[in-house]
């Protein structure tokens, strides 16, 4: 398991190709996440800018997935704060829920039809049922 030494600890920021005119999507300060007293994520600072691609590299158990869960606001950090577009985010904040998605490495399928699985995001967003068929068909054509 992890120890202090191989805990994922990036000190670089995402590239700024997108320009500085937009607010950074993520700003992380002194983030710590413990799993049963085990330090899983320890980040002094990390900034992710718009229109940039950030890669996470590290050995098994170094906290990559834990960091992704924090960034998707599925988990909250044990210490420190994550700013999303310059704002602190409360758990289940509606302004973030519909803008950040995490695709887990082992995807979970709901015990419903394929159609219902694809349409589930639309249901959560309160989109009228009559528009589901078209949206799902569009997604399936992809």
């Amino acid at each position: 398991m992890t120890d202090e030494h191989d805990t994922f600890n990036p000190h670089w920021s995402g590239n700024r190709a997108g320009g500085d005119q937009d607010t950074d999507i993520y700003q992380l300060f002194n983030i710590k996440k413990y799993h049963k007293r085990q330090l899983a994520v320890d980040i002094e600072s990390l900034t992710i800018s718009p229109a940039s691609i950030t890669g996470l590299i590290g050995p098994n158990g170094s906290g990559k997935s834990s960091l992704l869960r924090l960034l998707a606001f599925v988990d909250s950090p044990s210490e420190g704060s994550i700013l999303f577009k310059g704002r602190k985010v409360a758990p289940f904040d509606a302004s973030v829920r519909f803008h950040v998605s995490l695709l887990p490495q082992e995807p979970y399928l709901l015990k419903r039809s394929v159609f219902d699985n694809i349409a589930y995001g639309l249901v959560l967003r309160g989109i009228n049922r009559s528009r589901h068929a078209e949206a799902v068909a569009g997604a399936l054509r992809w």
Partner: protein, 103 residues
């Protein structure tokens, strides 16, 4: 289930929707558990006798009635009640295995 929770939240579910969806996902398991519990309660005799006391119209269940009728020597009545109880228990178990197969 952790993966389900992550998927639901990242699709945009709020706390209430996560709870409802999780219950819906576990529907077969929950139904099977309730029916199992129902079957166990239906066929219980010792506790019903000890705690309830087998009082007619109050705490007498089919199982305690069977025990009483048998000890009274009224075996026909006991067997008849036993058949009814068995039919009910069999129905519950058949439905249970049907649900298990579906999930």
């Amino acid at each position: 289930m952790q993966n389900e929770r992550i998927t639901l939240i990242s699709l945009g579910a709020d706390r209430k929707q996560v709870v409802l969806s999780t219950l819906w996902e576990a529907r077969y398991g929950i139904l099977a558990a309730s029916m199992n519990a129902y079957g166990r309660v239906m066929t219980e005799v010792g506790i019903a006798m000890m705690v309830g006391g087998n009082i007619k119209w109050h705490t007498r269940t089919i199982t305690t009635a069977i025990a009483l009728e048998t000890s009274k020597g009224q075996f026909e009545m006991g067997i008849a009640l036993g058949l009814i109880l068995m039919a009910i228990a069999a129905m519950v178990n058949i439905s249970l295995s049907f649900l298990r197969n579906r999930s």
